[in-house]
């Protein structure tokens, strides 16, 4: 399936995956993340449940300290 991840087209095997799957596949190991699927915020408790499907627009923000 093809998705738009942080404004880049990316292709993954299968028809759907959870946010946890995406984080593992992309090696995103940051603790502080903000994740949106098609504009909807996915909280940490939803990472194992929320599904990403073909054509979805996903944003993963890595939050780092400083300001």
């Amino acid at each position: 399936m093809k998705i738009l991840l942080n404004n880049n087209r990316e292709e993954f095997a299968g028809d759907e995956m959870t946010v946890t799957d995406l984080l593992r596949l992309k090696n995103f190991t940051f603790k502080m993340l903000v994740i949106k699927i098609n504009g909807i915020l996915i909280k940490k408790t939803g990472y194992d449940i929320a599904l990403i499907k073909e054509g979805d627009e996903v944003h993963v923000l890595h939050l780092i300290s400083g300001g």
Binding site: N7, V34, L41, L63, S65, G66, G67
Partner: protein
């Protein structure tokens, strides 16, 4: 647009600044200089000497509440700006009421968990208000790595890489650059659609 036309539009707008540290104090001052109508500033902290390497305060303000000191400083630059100051620790239960009516909110916190908190709160409770965040500005040099990008209604300013640490402190040039990038994005959002 002339500066007078820009100021005339900005005079009718209200912007929230979440945190009055390196990002917030500098961003607020930039917006005050261009004639923003109302600034809502919020912070619980006091000015300390170690803040002076990047934050818009003066040595004789050490010990003052940041909201009080910033209001004074902005008043000395542009007394026409209305400042609504909240001496408060921002949290999920007060963010929506503190920033009610704001056209844009600027995230100007220091710590990653606080950034996460305000992003989640604004997205959940005020999803239509643009949020401008600062992400990655520690250290010095590397001008060209600083950028701005949009993720839905979140605008991200910074290099998204440089986290603060003992060997990579947040200091005036780069923090000020990102704070001014945030102010620049706020202007872009507020003036968008106003250009005939």
């Amino acid at each position: 647009m002339t500066f007078e036309q820009i100021s005339a539009i900005l005079k009718t707008r209200k912007v929230g600044i979440a945190g009055c540290g390196g990002l917030g104090s500098n961003c607020a001052v930039a917006l005050a200089r261009v004639g923003l109508g109302t600034l809502v500033i919020a912070d619980f902290d006091r000015v300390s000497k170690s803040n002076l390497n990047r934050q818009y305060y003066f040595l004789d303000q050490v010990g003052m509440k940041k909201t009080v000191a910033l209001k004074d400083n902005i008043g000395r630059i542009n007394p026409d700006v209305k400042i609504i100051a909240h001496d408060i620790r921002l949290a999920p239960e007060n963010i929506a009421s503190v920033f009610t009516g704001c056209d844009v909110i600027v995230e100007a916190f220091d710590l990653a968990d606080q950034k996460e908190m305000i992003i989640e709160t604004v997205l959940s409770e005020m999803p239509f208000v643009p949020l401008v965040i600062g992400l990655g500005m520690a250290g010095w040099g590397k001008n060209n790595t600083l950028h701005c990008r949009k993720a839905d209604n979140i605008y991200i300013c910074g290099d998204e890489i440089s986290e603060i640490g003992q060997e990579l402190p947040p200091i005036a040039p780069r923090v000020g650059m990102v704070a001014n990038m945030q102010a620049n994005v706020v202007m872009e959002i507020l003036l968008n659609g106003e250009i005939a």
